[in-house]
Symmetry: C2
Subunit: 384 residues, 2 copies
């Protein structure tokens, strides 16, 4: 079964899931892997890469992303992560330390490991502080790629908190409005809030106009890029998908100035302030080229709905709000309107039932990495 069939059955796809599917939509063939088996595979790989200390947290984060259909941030990251480990950019069994602690805030130093474990710990700590003070904020420095930001925001919502997560990226790809060189990462913002009976509100977006996956899909289909997706070396619209993939000169959300690109630029810069500058991490364009690590920063912020509203008030209001969004009369050419998080929740229900589709080309790539690293290969294990 192909992943694109899965996408269609889950209904119209809204929050980036369509673009995240791009890599898999082109795959001729995929196998369906149950989440526990995928977790076993990832835990084995992370243990081989950087020791057992944080392997479970890292595997958790990638499986969560794959369950929600955020395919660009699940098992597909294995090739990127193998590259980072091969370049010695990731510390083994990194020591995660609290380096600042004051009232409702804290700063963690991730010790140079992957970002999944420190971001998980940061959000849990932010939720603890929010339970005590109404709001909590925990910044992380000395970190690396942490997978999908939405995973940590959703973690807060499951704990009854509103979660806001931002992260910087170790390389710049977004070009400021009026510019022709990259100065900001795709700097994601994720936000989640708990309902009463319904599923949480969930937003997980890069502050670029499109995901890299959309460029790959356009390249595969030989399709001309529209204005506002990517830029050429002069800062003009890039229409060639191959050149766009090579140069990675992405526009901020909005695209051109006329279409509000200055807003996306400002949001990407805001994320950099919150993630990098507040944590004391390294801003990629100014990072010392000889530095042994990328020193990426994140921010996890939690707000307690109960502190603001008292018990049993916020959740029902959130449910009613999301229902009102879903009941928006659809446009002439659309089937229905979705609330933020609906596509991810629908995909999770489907993939928990049917398994996670992994293209055979990716299965082969994972197998090669596992063999090279002396990790077990589990994707084709018989179900246990």
């Amino acid at each position: 079964m192909s992943a694109s069939a899965g996408t269609t059955a889950a209904g119209p796809v809204l929050h980036g899931a369509a673009s995240r599917e791009a890599d898999r939509a082109g795959a001729r063939e995929a196998i369906l892997v149950p989440a526990p088996r995928l977790h076993r595979q990832l835990e084995a790989l992370f243990t081989a890469w950087c020791g057992p200390a944080h392997a479970t947290a890292s595997a958790d984060a990638l499986v969560e992303a794959d369950l929600m259909g955020i395919d660009s941030h699940g098992i597909t990251l294995v090739t990127l992560y193998e590259e980072l480990v091969a370049k010695s950019m990731i510390a083994r069994d990194a020591d995660i330390r609290v380096v600042q602690d004051l009232g409702a805030i804290a700063v963690l130093d991730a010790g140079g490991g992957f970002g999944h474990a420190p971001a998980t710990r940061a959000m849990d700590l932010a939720c603890e502080r929010a339970a005590a003070f109404g709001v909590g904020a925990v910044a992380v420095r000395g970190s690396n790629h942490f997978g999908a930001a939405g995973v940590y925001a959703l973690r807060a919502a499951r704990a009854g908190m509103i979660g806001l997560v931002t992260s910087a990226v170790h390389a710049a790809s977004i070009v400021p409005v009026f510019g022709r060189a990259p100065r900001l990462g795709t700097n994601p913002i994720a936000f989640a809030a708990p309902g009463a009976d319904g599923a949480p509100f969930l937003l997980d977006i890069a502050t670029s106009t499109i995901a890299i996956g959309k460029l790959k899909l356009a390249a595969r289909e030989g399709r001309r890029l529209p204005d506002g997706w990517a830029l050429d070396a002069d800062g003009r619209p890039q229409h060639d998908p191959e050149a766009a993939l090579r140069d990675r000169l992405m526009t901020p959300l909005g695209g051109s100035r006329e279409m509000g690109g200055h807003k996306g630029y400002g949001l990407a810069a805001m994320v950099e302030v919150l993630s990098t500058l507040l944590a004391g991490a390294s801003y990629a364009p100014l990072r010392d080229r000889g530095a042994p690590r990328y020193d990426v920063g994140h921010l996890c912020l939690a707000l307690s709905p109960e502190a603001f509203r008292g018990p049993n008030a916020f959740g029902p209001d959130l449910d009613a709000f999301l229902a009102c969004l879903r009941e928006t009369p659809p446009a002439a050419d659309a089937a229905r309107v979705l609330a933020p998080g609906d596509p991810e929740h629908a995909m999770r229900a489907r993939r928990e039932r049917e398994g996670i589709p992994i293209p055979r080309s990716l299965v082969a790539a994972v197998k090669a990495v596992a063999e090279a690293r002396g990790a077990g290969f589990h994707l084709e294990d018989p179900d246990t």
Copy 2:
């Protein structure tokens, strides 16, 4: 001197100021009013509208916006505010009360008055809490229009804090992706952060693709609207500026789904959660039509850079970050790249020196309102 000349002389305009200028760019003739005189005029009007208790705070907020070139949120609001007062939507000498107070958070009830005074108080309280706990968050309910969100974010930055401000709006105009009816206000996000030697980072954006002012300008010029600015009653792109002005069916930032409109939709919805649901205010589409007030909500959040970084660390990093953005090589057709806040700071310097340009048509409208309300008319006072 015309306002458009002022805009040109201030250099390329980035953060929405161009669109905010739209109303004035078409004015044949404007007078230049020093900020203190403009303040005197506004204070007189607010006192006449709703008593002396909060007139100074309201006048402060509008003068600040006009100084920064956020012209849609300065003296031009007099006609909208006169309408709201005439419809009895604004309480006189509203009682602003703290209705929830717990550790680092609080909730204010604005008592049905304008939003400027309660938002000012909310941000000051959030900054106090951030000084004590590292982070503070204060929600406001029972409020109304509060002017430009950036005014309150900048207030935090001047106090040495990072400020984040969101607000709902009393009427929905943003149409969710795939929909054909409005469900969200233009729900602004403002963010500011203090530098050491340089001016603060400042972002102040609506989560719609464009400001209403851009529609007005297009209508005046008889220009066809591009895809992605506004929608018709079927949810398809609206190209007629007059119809767009009448229907107010705005797209979320990004515009179409292809250009990332689902991201703007999600951000506008996030602002609604933070501003309305967290405060216990009324979500406009579900508000009881017989309610005597709009019951708008805001959120003011402050983070202490010193709590996270220790003394004298964050400010220099912010200055270096903004300098790096400004040094981005410009696109072939652009003069230079600006950092978030640069246009507003440049405009403030100019208008503090030269005065604030007010078109004669607006001067006449202000005079008519002042006379009808028995307030003094001061815009043409001799300088004192």
